[in-house]
Symmetry: C2
Subunit: 350 residues, 2 copies
């Protein structure tokens, strides 16, 4: 089992009000670079940004890392258009950051990126891959691709109140800028990505396609962004077995739409509830309130947790949160503030 994490950026994320991945637009482009440092090293180590919302909700990378510290798994981070350097080791497949979808071309090299990612996915010797993503603005580009493909699915949000109408207006503008109508890219999914997608999409799709071609089991680890990738794969004529693993937070928000989309794209669906409601901890409270929900392979990582180990993941998440400067329950901070693992911020993790 290997977790593959394509990480990238798109200028689409800078559009006002569509992403919670980063407290301020100018810091958001650091988020994926920081996320992969958290998964690899347990905390941002060279990134100047710690992706925690003003409410104290940490990036889903914190949850993926907590799972990794409990169950252990190999990680390969793919540079799928990072703009900021990261101290996590990355595989460079040669793609660049994405443009604002409201430009004529959003991903100039979508075909070439897919091809390189395909070769990489085909080369991996693992029996099973779990493919996640971190790309701020990714649900908007997911909506763009689904719309261009003529698929009805909606998309999730990293904000408790999904600005879906805002996203739809952006996608309308994006399609117009690319001289497309909804459904115009049916059967030509890379054209959809090129016009209104992001660079992480052809990377995830290519790795998945290459891995499936060589008989590797593939799980897309994510919510509606991964449904868009599933749609891309199906529109590309790939009919191999495909799984989607996401969080209960996405499932709660999406309701029947999630299962419907999985049925439409012929994907096995796994939904995992991390039991965050059992803890009185600000980070877990924020997830229960609908913030962040998914990302950085969180739902897929949670699906790897054996029965009876989820409490250990929650314990570990508290430790990871302390490293990120989140002190847990504000009402008992005197007790929770005692850090048995070393300094909290800029400190040393395991």
């Amino acid at each position: 089992m290997r977790v593959v994490l394509p990480a990238g950026t798109t200028e689409t994320a800078l559009i006002d009000g569509i992403s919670a991945a980063g407290a301020a637009p100018e810091l958001m482009e650091h988020t994926p670079s920081a996320d992969v440092e958290i998964v690899e090293h347990g905390a941002p180590i060279m990134s100047p940004v710690t992706p925690v919302s003003p409410n104290g909700c940490p990036t889903p990378a914190a949850v993926t890392r907590a799972v990794r510290e409990v169950v252990g798994f190999d990680v390969s981070v793919i540079d799928a258009g990072l703009t900021q350097s990261t101290a996590a080791p990355t595989v460079d497949l040669g793609g660049g950051p994405g443009n604002d979808v409201r430009e004529a071309v959003a991903v100039p090299d979508a075909d070439a990126t897919f091809d390189r990612a395909f070769d990489y996915g085909a080369s991996l010797p693992d029996d099973e891959l779990l493919i996640g993503e971190t790309v701020p603005g990714g649900t908007t580009t997911a909506l763009g691709v689904l719309t261009a493909l003529g698929e009805p699915a909606g998309v999730s949000s990293s904000l408790p109140e999904n600005p879906i109408e805002r996203k739809r207006r952006v996608v309308d503008e994006a399609l117009t800028a690319s001289d497309l109508e909804p459904g115009d890219c049916e059967g030509t999914p890379l054209a959809a990505i090129e016009a209104v997608g992001d660079p992480v999409q052809p990377t995830v799709a290519g790795i998945a396609a290459g891995a499936l071609e060589t008989g590797t089991a593939v799980t897309l680890a994510g919510g509606t962004q991964m449904l868009a990738v599933a749609a891309v794969l199906r529109h590309a004529g790939i009919d191999a077995t495909l799984s989607v693993a996401t969080t209960s937070f996405v499932a709660d928000e999406q309701g029947d739409r999630l299962a419907d989309a999985c049925e439409r794209f012929d994907c096995e669906l796994t939904v995992t509830d991390p039991g965050f409601d059992e803890r009185d901890h600000v980070a877990m409270d924020r997830y229960c309130a609908g913030e962040a929900k998914e990302g950085v392979g969180m739902g897929g990582a949670l699906s790897l947790v054996p029965d009876g180990e989820m409490a250990a993941v929650r314990d570990r998440l508290e430790t990871v949160c302390r490293r990120l400067g989140i002190e847990g329950d504000a009402d008992s901070s005197a007790e929770d503030g005692v850090d048995t693992d070393g300094p909290t911020e800029g400190g040393r993790g395991p």
Copy 2:
């Protein structure tokens, strides 16, 4: 515990007769890229080259991987001047390949590379680092740096018959081309690297220096190349505790010189014998005959093997060798050729 593996190239490796790291000069520059794929994935997965000598001696990366499959450890590969792409994730610290030491400048950006590596090493949250290397031609550049520093130590070889006189002549030429006499760089080790070293040296030295600065325990995993790095650190005025871990093959070749050099550079020395003489297997026979000896963190990785587990490492090495197309004992190939782990070449590892 994290194993950090700077991987790079120098045109010095192309000088006739100084390196066994690659069957032919035109393939040698692929060796470090293939090595790190072996450590990360168990076999070369996108590299077109499998570093196995004509005699059937695999790269030390095979041994490091075998240890990793038995004991498990995190790996971070550093791109310290690779010329060929690799499918292993790498941290890019921005350095380029090295020039032939017989040019005036061998490592144009040695200072800047050291500084970036220092920051990276200082950022790592691990309690303990083991730093290895893979750079064909690295013992010649090690001899170059030691000579420029005025240090008497000799260097090892990846060939059973060490072409040490050939290396000394190359180093003499190299010093002349840089307008230096032996000892001229005493106290200015980065000048020595710039003149007659390779890009992996300032990367290893910088990571070690940064890690030591933040209280991380550092083991240099290698033989005479790592003694050259130890000399660099001591000439840079760094007096923190430093360990060297190497193989019995280097110790057997170097005799008293190894312990003498460690004493001179105030390094704890650990020598590990993997017990390859207990197996009748071509790869292990070749190591016992003095081929390869060390590299890619092999000696350091072996030092992590708990008591009683070395037989498991040898078992695992046989499996890794089969993936690399090495069938073990030629006299009983009918039996040893049975591969219980899948196809041997271009096949699928775990």
